[in-house]
Symmetry: C2
Subunit: 207 residues, 2 copies
């Protein structure tokens, strides 16, 4: 759908704003905007206010940099969570994914990205300094790197590991291996190789 095919500048403007969103093509953008146009005015206002309020009022936890409605997020504030177990993640979505497993009882640190020179993201764009400050009062803790298994993820782990001078910290990463339910013959070589090297003890009762 070309811009000149749209008979109203207001419509065309709204469509091009939607078109900027990731994964929204111009046809989808038009469909969404025409849907919004059919909604009552107060609902459109509500939609638009939700976005502006999100951007202007959202807070990031002063401890872990996770998105939060309060100065300190509900996870950091939860006294039943282990303070000396920090899981370092790239973004908010990773926190949600790990929380959903209900297997983790520590706290998080949200970097807000990973080091990626090609995208112009350096260590100073991430919340690494905040993490280093946090670690100063750390005693016999553990840091779990839950970053993507890519060059950028590995670089970020390596950078943070080098920066940390506190020697009482144990570093771990998520285990990599064959996904549960996957066929071995279809696993990629790298994953299969690593899952042989890092094989774990067989536990008959565990599934």
């Amino acid at each position: 759908m070309n811009k000149e095919d749209i008979p109203s500048a207001l419509l065309s403007n709204a469509v091009s704003e939607f078109h900027k969103l990731p994964g929204i093509g111009s046809k989808t953008a038009l469909r969404l905007v025409l849907h919004i146009l059919n909604q009552p005015e107060n609902e459109v206002k509500q939609f638009s206010d939700a976005l502006v309020q999100l951007k202007s009022q959202v807070k990031f936890c002063k401890s872990c940099n996770n998105i939060s409605d309060t100065e300190i997020c509900s996870i950091c504030n939860n006294s039943s969570r282990k303070e000396n177990l920090i899981c370092v993640v790239e973004g908010i979505k990773d926190v949600m994914a790990i929380e959903k497993t209900m297997q983790y009882k520590g706290v998080y640190h949200v970097l807000g990205g990973i080091i990626s020179p090609l995208d112009g993201i350096g260590p100073s764009d991430l919340s690494i300094d905040l993490l280093l400050n946090r670690l100063n009062k750390f005693k016999n803790g553990e840091i779990i790197f839950a970053l993507p298994a890519t060059m950028e993820g590995d670089t970020t782990c390596f950078y943070i590991h080098k920066k940390i001078e506190n020697k009482n910290i144990n570093f771990t990463t998520l285990s990599r291996g064959i996904s549960i339910g996957d066929e071995i013959e279809y696993a990629d070589e790298l994953t299969l190789g690593r899952s042989i090297v890092n094989r774990t003890a067989f536990e008959p009762s565990f599934r």
Copy 2:
């Protein structure tokens, strides 16, 4: 993604607003909202303003009910278009689709829907009265029904046809038949049957 998995009420609110849009699931909604959260504040404002302005300032052409930035849309205002040839369509998107073919030199009438008792849409919800008023000053004109080939579309054509008392009007509908490029063996029976009954003269020079 459940609402309770989202660590901020503001975020959750914005996600549920996006989730209301057609074809946007909760995961896509979260992805879009996190993208918006990463944008500068003025761009978010611009996005939200585009929607509010669209809803509050958009006009519908007083003649044909098409979306427009002016009282009378650019198509109705164009003196080179045939005033006594009106193509009746369901919505704005149909106007765009027909305009894109560059084959049509008449004007339009946008009904804003079709009669559909199951969805609670009756004749009074559509711009049928506007069309009837328009036709009072009509002389030897033609009305093309470009409505969906469904029960609702046919009902709408039938209803409008009955309402029109001006006897100098020629009624036509879009031709139905095999799509250009389609194999005959795969055409559905109804379309194939109708395309035999409504066969057209063979024109050797036309492709």
